[in-house]
């Protein structure tokens, strides 16, 4: 077992006052709160910080922890002889480290049997699942691992994610939460899966709407053209009106994520200039410069 340096976790000195510890905790809790933070390991960091604060805020636990720190730590960490502190922690200690559960938590650990299996009420379980945009579009039946609150370890479960889920949506799976200790499904809470749609290399999303950047040649934008556009349901043909410009949104109705109503796809035009590498290309550009009456800075005239 690893010894955990709670002072380091909170970034405070060993002789920090209770107020300093509280301030450090609150600052880190805001920073790493999974509902706020963009950090990829926010959830883990938030739990670490919460665990450190749970110990250091309580003078009795902190004193016991400071004693533990004095133990030799070579080759793993074990309880010193005579360790018999019994602490009860509020909240979900199952999320805490082995170190914490061994020294600061009197809750039964994994593998132990509760005296009264009916003590735990059915509970809803909330869990996040990351899926690809294609999976959101077509629907998806993954096998997920869900933690048991009422027993040791985890459980594997086949779930069905319907076509057309959107980022942040919750899917409710009735009776798949944690149970009250009995095998009855009706005595179980529900499992909520929060959908997270992973970034896609080509498409971005806004609810059910899909955006794709569509590069076009200057003559396609100027004269109009029919071009092929990728959509989640496969390529479609899109008519670009004459006189289009970069940044213009062209709507493909109903080509977004399925639903009632389904989302739309937007092709965002990006006019790309052909390079003038060869003499022929340069000649064409020179000809345009001479023969087209075009001043891209006309609107800046007063300032130039």
């Amino acid at each position: 077992m690893e010894f955990i340096d709670y002072y380091k976790t909170l970034g405070v000195a060993e002789d920090a006052s209770g107020d300093q510890i509280k301030r450090a905790y609150r600052k880190l809790a805001r920073k790493f709160h999974p509902d706020v933070s963009q950090e990829s390991d926010a959830e883990a960091r938030f739990k670490e910080v919460g665990e450190a604060y749970d110990v250091l805020k309580d003078p009795e636990k902190r004193g016991a922890y400071d004693e533990l720190r004095l133990q030799p730590q070579a080759g793993g960490f074990a309880a010193p002889p005579g360790w018999n502190y019994e602490f009860h922690s509020a909240g979900d200690s199952a999320a805490f480290s082995d170190f914490f559960r061994t020294f600061f938590d009197a809750e039964p650990g994994p593998g132990t049997v509760r005296d009264d299996p009916h003590a735990a009420p059915p509970r809803d379980v909330h869990q996040r699942i990351a899926i690809t945009l294609e999976e959101a579009f077509h629907g998806y039946r993954p096998e997920i691992e869900t933690r048991l609150f009422d027993g040791p370890g985890t459980r594997r479960l086949k779930v069905s994610i319907p076509a057309g889920v959107i980022d942040g949506q919750h899917i409710r799976l009735r009776g798949q939460g944690s149970g009250d200790g009995s095998a009855r499904k009706s005595a179980r809470g529900d499992l909520y899966l929060e959908i997270q749609i992973a970034p896609h290399p080509m498409f971005s999303t806004d609810g059910r709407d899909i955006y794709v950047t569509l590069p076009v040649a200057p003559w396609e934008a100027a004269l109009g053209a029919s071009v092929r556009v990728p959509t989640l349901g496969g390529p479609v043909t899109l008519k670009i009106p004459a006189g289009s410009q970069t940044g213009q949104h062209l709507r493909l109705k109903g080509r977004g994520l399925p639903g009632s109503p389904p989302g739309d796809q937007y092709a965002v035009l990006n006019v790309v200039l052909p390079p003038a590498d060869t003499e022929t290309d340069k000649k064409l550009y020179r000809e345009m410069a001479e023969r087209m009456n075009f001043d891209p800075r006309a609107h800046l005239e007063g300032a130039l």
Binding site: R26, A29, H33, D124, G168, Q169, N270
Partner: protein
């Protein structure tokens, strides 16, 4: 196109939503009065919450509990986070346009 066979109902009632996030109906009514979630429909028995309401409520309840802020503070934080997410998505789209 869609592989789901049964059309899914895309809203929740007051009873369903309060059950799903594990709070009393009276508490949920108070949160609606704060503007944390905005159902369609005039009175509580007719309220219809959209599919984002569960996620928003759960986030607010976690923020309140974990960061010791009140409902108004959590509502403000969520509004700002939504705005931030919208701006990040917009920035992402614009970056793709430039690259």
């Amino acid at each position: 196109m869609s592989r789901s066979t049964t059309p899914r109902r895309r809203y929740l009632t007051l009873v369903e939503l309060s059950h799903s996030v594990g709070i009393r109906q009276r508490h949920l009514v108070a949160l609606v009065e704060h503007g944390l979630v905005e159902p369609a429909g005039d009175n509580p028995s007719e309220w219809r919450f959209d599919e984002q309401a569960t996620a928003r409520l759960l986030r607010a309840l976690r923020l309140r509990r974990d960061l010791r802020i009140n409902t108004a503070g959590a509502t403000l934080a969520l509004d700002l986070l939504d705005e931030l997410a919208r701006l990040r998505a917009e920035l992402d789209r614009l970056r793709r346009l430039v690259d």
